[in-house]
Amino acid sequence: MFKKTGIAALGLALMASATYAADIKIGYVTTLTTPAAVLGNDMKDAVNLALEHLGGKMAGKTVEVIFEDDGFKPEIGKQKTDKLVQQDDVPIVAGYIWSNVLLASAKSVLDAGKFLISSNAGPSQIAGKLCNKNFFSTSWQNDQTPMAMGEVLNQQGVKSLYLLGPNYAAGKNMMTGVQRTFKGEIKGKDLTKWPSQLDFSAELAKAKASGAEAIFVFYPGKAGGAFIKQYQQAGLKGVMDLYTVFTVDAISLPKLQAGKLEGVLGSRLTQQWDPTLDNAANKKFVADFRTKYKRYPSFYAAQAYDTINLIASGVEAVGGDMTKTDDLRAAMEKADYASVRGKYTYGKNHFPVQNFYLREVVADADGNWTTKVVKTVYENHVDPYVGECPLAQ
């Protein structure tokens, strides 16, 4: 009797797991441990919200996202990517906060003929020489955001600048980006050890001694908060104006507010998205994200939300048949979905051709620190590496 019940239970369990197994699996690599987990969790929350908005289905088929943690390290990111490609055999791998993790992992996905969608990282190599027909970005190429900032600095009449950022793939791209457009004098540049260096005393002293009018900074994640604090403690507010990219975001602002670092209010940053952008998709995303998670979404979250909707637009077009890779690619190339940044198109290297905005840090009606759009810096901006991409030739 026991045995029979046991077999019945086993059968039931197997049945249950069989019906539970999703039709379409998507791999998602992000950072879920170390302090950078706060960025990864924001993306994970946005992915889950996007799935909820889609009713858990694309083209009538159930969807499962398998999250993997890169541990903030390229080698672990690559291992997890290999696992998703080989063991889970997912048709699409998405995510990737860090350029160095994406560069280490891209080959595993693309050589297997699968799709790779970056929710954040945009290293120059993948936009240029290493571009691939199965790679898509829902963020930007690294150089673009600082290029927009360089333009803003010209418009503000800033004559001299000091550059500061971390010494890794993205840090180098950001420095190149701002130097592409900034017309004034670069008084000096420092690349710091990444990710371990969080004390920038020596660099701040150098920047101040250089006599530059303003300082341009790229420090994502916890380094950003640390930098802002030290900038204020060194008494540089009002001496050297602060212009940042990817340093001040919805994740660092509440902490800076708790730490009473008013120095950040009024500081300016450039980005392709802002929570106040006026379009239906963005309003719904920001409102539902705030209701569900009780905080503002960051740009990481916005891009992750877009990633899932881009995939959904492709999957709908092929009716859920993931073997039709050519049709799936053609559908995604149209970017025919309601992006929270508004309508954009894809360049030949599959990086978005999109607007960039100047944002300012302000307090909202409830006193929470957030950002608002000051103006549009670039319309339909194309990244500078597309010419090097063999697909464009």
Binding site: A37, K189, S201, A202, K229, Q230, Q233, A234, K255
Partner: protein, 306 residues
Amino acid sequence: MSTLFLIQFLNGLQLGVLLFLLAAGLTLVFGIMDFVNLAHGSLYMVGAFFCATLTFWTGSFVWAALLAIPLTALVGLVLEIGVIRHLYQRDHLDHVLATFGFILIADTLVHLIWGPEGIAIPLPGYLRGQVEVLPGIIFPTFRLVIIGSGLLVAFGLYWLIGRTRLGMLIRAGASNRTMVSALGIDIKTLFTAVFALGAVLAGLAGMLIAPITEATIGMGNDIIITAFVVIIVGGIGSMKGAFIGALLIGLIDTLGRSFLDDILKLFIPINAAETAGPAISSMLIYLIMAAVLAFRPQGLFPPKVR
């Protein structure tokens, strides 16, 4: 140029005294108890998180730091009595395994209790500003506080180890442990006290740096490597070595970061110097360590052993 040099000297000094606080505990535990404590950095992190939470409870950073010190000592005591004490007889590999395990446990516990995002500690207004140390040399007040408290602790330790009975026992324990216990000294209690002292020093370092960086998970894992470099350069088990080694490493690291690329630009093309500068300056302290290991493997100021 000379004003910048003086400011960078102060920055280097500040990094140096911070490293000294960590290295002092490390060298005591390693030199006297012959125990490799990789988890020393976790105590640094725990100190920072205690201080952060208490700052929000008490509303004052200074009170929070004063309360967090005994709490960190308590963590050190519990750790020593519960785990570390049973490992003294084992070999170094077991020490490394056990304390590495403790790092993972501590990081995960902090993730569970405080979340992954880290905590920014607000400073009181009088510590937030800057001071004009000399005409034209403006330096953040709080960094001066770090230098001051580090030097104060260094002086306190010098007095404790050189002038008190406890210090005498510690020095005796470092030279010849078996003889000390043969003379009827309760070596177990002595070791517990030394370990707790090391924990307090590490925790204090964490509390001092947290208002500048943030209390974050794994904050100790990066700096502990530098602290090991300090005690290897200074000589393992030597307090004087830890002090001079820490200041040396702090100054070399800071001055390297600030002047190396300018110096390189005199010899090689600017582009090459901009690439090589950050790479070499982040290696500099390890090059110093390698040189010390090659030419003076016992360190610059090894403890006297008879």
